[in-house]
């Protein structure tokens, strides 16, 4: 079975949960930015959670199917249409041969996920089907989709069961968010006043918000003046080039902090002052430009608790959607 791309959308890519083991040579994890929505989309159509699906920011693709299929749309809020008729999101939908699935503009959140029973069956590269565009690797020919692409769909693993995610489990996307952050890394390089500003300011997401990173506008921050260490570069925000954690926050020259996401550059010469906890990276992936963001400091322990709590929430959904 194939799904054909009639219109590609803005920057649609094939993603799964990402790859490991190659960040040491600059190949980032990639994978769905909002992992929870991607997992739920797969659960709805009876796929393993790690199956490959489509991630589409802001404007989703228009797709047709050359055979009957079961699909589900999750993530950002957008009107779902099959042959022009409105259908529910967060719900398994049957489509037939020649049917057209299209979506309206995203009205809340930023990225929709489209899962198809059987999963997008592109070859796995370094253990994952995720697209890493900068390296031209994985996904469909290592790139964002274009009109006319035909994507192979695997054989569904189970019978189709009508599944729908209960309303109370569906996220509510807001234009004002709080991100929990574990401070550290090179935060000792900030002045005390700037550490305070980092946590007490509203940070507005700029249009530079893609799979590599999310850039924010807000007050100017200052790093402590010093004689720069050998090899670090001349700006006080420079360090000797080092590895960048996924979710880490860097502040080049003290202005416009960047939160790196799953297609991160793996390292570089800017001091990072903290890291968004893994659970909240899903939320970052659903922030559209203009979103007002607060950074809330938490401990590693809090981050682990949030992680456990998110897993319990997902376990509940797994149980509800099982079968």
């Amino acid at each position: 079975m194939f799904v054909e791309v009639v219109e590609p959308g803005l920057a649609t890519t094939v993603q799964d949960l990402g790859r490991t083991g190659a960040y040491n040579v600059g190949i980032p994890p990639s994978g769905a930015l909002d992992q929870r929505s991607a997992r739920i989309a797969n659960l709805l159509v009876g796929n393993p959670e790690s199956a490959a699906l489509l991630e589409a920011p802001y404007l989703a693709p228009k797709l047709t199917f050359d055979g009957p299929a079961v699909v589900a749309v999750t993530g950002a809020t957008a009107q779902v249409l099959v042959n022009g008729e409105e259908r529910p999101s967060w719900t398994a939908l049957r489509v037939g041969e020649g049917d057209v699935l299209s979506l309206g503009f995203v009205t809340a959140g930023a990225r929709v996920y489209i899962a198809i029973a059987g999963g997008i069956d592109v070859p796995a590269v370094l253990g994952s089907r995720s697209t890493y565009g900068l390296g031209g690797l994985g996904g469909h020919e290592g790139r964002t989709l274009v009109a006319g692409d035909r994507l192979p769909v695997g054989a569904p693993t189970g019978e189709h069961v009508p599944r729908e995610l209960a309303e109370r489990h569906r996220p509510q996307w807001s234009r004002e968010v709080e991100l929990r952050v574990v401070l550290g890394l090179y935060d000792y390089r900030l002045t005390d006043e700037s550490r305070h500003l980092l946590l007490e300011s509203d940070w507005k997401l700029t249009p530079v918000a893609d799979r590599t990173g999310f850039r924010y506008q807000g007050p100017q921050l200052a790093f402590i003046e010093r004689e720069q260490p050998f090899g670090a570069g001349s700006d006080p925000s420079n360090i000797v080039d080092a590895g960048y954690p996924i979710g880490s926050i860097q502040v080049p020259s003290g202005s416009e902090p960047i939160v790196l996401h799953r297609d991160a550059v793996s390292g570089g010469g800017y001091a990072q002052v903290g890291t968004v906890i893994s659970v909240d990276l899903d939320l970052v992936g659903q922030c559209a430009p203009g979103t007002v963001t607060r950074l809330v400091p938490v401990s590693l322990d809090d981050a682990l608790k949030a992680r456990a709590q998110a897993r319990e929430g997902l376990d509940e959904i797994r149980a509800l959607l099982a079968g």
Partner: protein, 293 residues
């Protein structure tokens, strides 16, 4: 080198800052801890990324408790610190470079408004900064001594290289004031004390000095040199640049396209203490390995 600083990159990363300044001892330590940690085969480690003077570990806290990871890495660091003659088995790789080529010059000319020196080329800027009179002098300064790959990353397969000469002889240059949005693939660049080779076309802030004809990243793994990995360089590799003219650049470019064996790579052992004791003598010995192949 004081005590290393351990810090959490939220719940999935541990960062070990070995030194604030770049030096070979810190880089060696990062590599040694990395390989020892990999050797432990701990369940739950996703990525071990040695960097210039630090180390980044990505892990799954559901399978590996953060305290256990930190304790293990601290143990390993203590063991590594006691080694009396640190050495690595590595490779010496020759990288042909067409210095002062027209492609990087053209791109450089497009972005003069982001450069310290609006007139001239990046190479002319470097000559002025380093007090060198000719391109030949620059080429000699850049290519006579080897460089060690101190980190691979930024983008897929991009090597950061640290010049294996005493600090006062290392090339140190600022990066562009604001990064370019364009850099030709396989540009040989320089920023701070590091050389790099841009593995893919893209943004970049390093000074541009030339081009190598030999790919260093190939996700399709077409050439035999990529049969084991789509990335040529590994941390610890030693690089020797060799100046080539346009004619040889074109020949090599065509030959590598035909799949011919044009990469010159030999296995070597690098011993840190002997190197630090007499870098020039050590280098000349080391580079002999390329001649006797």
């Amino acid at each position: 080198m004081g005590e290393s600083r351990y810090s959490w990159g939220a719940d999935e990363h541990l960062v070990v800052q070995i030194d604030e300044e770049m030096n070979l001892a810190a880089n060696f330590k990062a590599m040694a801890i990395s390989s020892a940690l990999a050797g432990r085969g701990l369940d739950g480690i996703w990525d071990i990324c040695p960097a210039n003077a630090s180390l980044l570990i990505r892990f799954d806290p559901d399978r590996l408790e953060p305290e256990v990871l930190e304790r293990t890495v601290r143990e390993i660091e203590a063991e590594v610190g006691q080694e009396s003659s640190p050495s690595i088995k590595t490779r010496l790789i020759e990288v042909p470079v067409w210095y002062d080529d027209p492609y990087t010059r053209e791109v450089g000319a497009k972005f003069r408004d982001r450069h310290q020196r609006p007139e001239g080329t990046d190479l002319e800027y470097a000559m002025a900064e380093l007090g060198l009179a000719s391109v030949d002098e620059f080429v000699e300064r850049h290519s006579a001594s080897p460089w060690i790959v101190s980190m691979v990353g930024f983008v897929a397969g991009l090597p950061f290289m640290f010049q294996m000469v005493p600090q006062e002889r290392q090339i140190e240059l600022p990066k562009y004031l604001r990064p370019r949005t364009e850099t030709p693939r396989l540009t040989v660049g320089h920023g701070g004390c590091f050389a790099c080779i841009y593995s893919v076309k893209g943004a970049g802030g390093y000074q541009m000095f030339g081009l190598t004809p030999l790919p260093i990243y190939d996700p399709a793994q077409g050439h035999e040199v990529f049969s084991e990995s789509m990335v040529l360089f590994r941390p610890g590799d030693i690089v020797k640049f060799r100046a080539v003219e346009e004619a040889e650049f074109r020949e090599l470019e065509a030959a590598v396209d035909r799949g011919e064996s044009v990469y010159r790579i030999v296995d070597v052992e690098f011993e840190l203490r002997s190197f630090l004791a007499d870098p020039d003598a050590y280098n000349s010995d080391l580079l002999g390995a390329l001649d006797v192949r």
